[in-house]
Symmetry: C2
Subunit: 162 residues, 2 copies
DNA sequence: TTCCTATATAGTTATTATTATTAAATAAGA
DNA sequence: TCTTATTTAATAATAATAACTATATAGGAA
């Protein structure tokens, strides 16, 4: 399923503004990789993005796709479904609970909140399949990672001074 | 972080009842693999489960861990965080929206619901890190997969008759 | 515009995660 | 205890992701 053209254009403009502002090069490859994700409503995997972009840039390499996707994720222009990085994570708690997920390192913590249990599911969702559970996913950056980011930033500042 | 012993015991009992009822063998390995996931609150990855179990069963193979985990997931005794199977899935929609995820095939569909936007995040969650977004994750089985399951079941019934 | 240079890319190789295969071992019913 | 279908360990195969390096390019300076 495809997104509406005006919304796609908005997303492309946001990408360009953001990359320029950050002093990161605005390459053809980056634009096309972003476009491939941004135009779709089905949350493609990396392989799908790769073959989609390859139709327009036949020489693109898979490595570039991965590198670019992580870059865009780092800039907050894309996200992954669930925790970042491809690794299965298990959960044995089958009763109602919710998650905080760090979008940098994948750290996940449970929390309980009775207000969040028993949310009414819209019928449009029930039309997609049988519903088994509902949970809140709060995403953000854990304190450990935000500390790390600050350090990274400090180091870069030092480098610039040299 | 560890779970409370009585809750762990409850989970172990549920596992045993469920496997017996399904006519699946209740092996030492299966018990220990489940216990390793069930006792933890941090949602371990497969490697972590493997090395944890290996302390008690030094000869366990990684393959057994994978096979067992998927079996337990299939029986609804465990789940994965996010979509099943280890593959990064992308999302370019950075504004508020929610997901239905099929726990069999990973099919993911967006939906909007303004009631779900702006849920009040408890302070205990804010203590974990900076919150960037909040979304609902509805999990279940999509119609395509539930059809497939029925077919599988029909085939098994036929085999039994022979 | 043309040139320069830091940064990004393609192509390839390496690493890590997951799945398949098969001979030997074992749980659970007779 | 015996039997047999299932399960396992060990290994090999495949798939997903990341690293490496010589070449190419975006974007600022002249």
């Amino acid at each position: 399923m495809r997104i509406e053209p005006p919304e796609l254009k908005r997303r492309m403009n946001r990408l360009k503004a953001r990359l320029r502002r950050s002093g990161v090069k605005l390459t053809h490859q980056r634009l096309e990789i972003f476009r491939e994700v941004a135009k779709s409503l089905d949350h493609p995997d990396v392989e799908t993005v790769f073959s989609g972009v390859r139709r327009r840039i036949p020489t693109i390499s898979l490595d570039t796709v991965y590198r670019t996707l992580w870059l865009l994720i780092d800039f907050g222009l894309l996200t992954t479904l669930g925790p970042p990085r491809g690794r299965v994570r298990l959960d044995a708690n089958m009763s109602s609970h919710h998650h905080f997920i760090c979008r940098k390192c994948g750290m996940t913590r449970d929390f309980l909140n009775h207000k969040f249990d028993r949310l009414k599911i819209p019928n449009t969702v029930k039309a997609l399949g049988s519903v088994e559970s509902t949970q809140i996913e709060v995403r953000g950056i854990c304190f450990r990672c935000s500390k790390k980011n600050k350090q990274k930033y400090r180091v870069q500042r030092k480098k610039e001074k040299k």
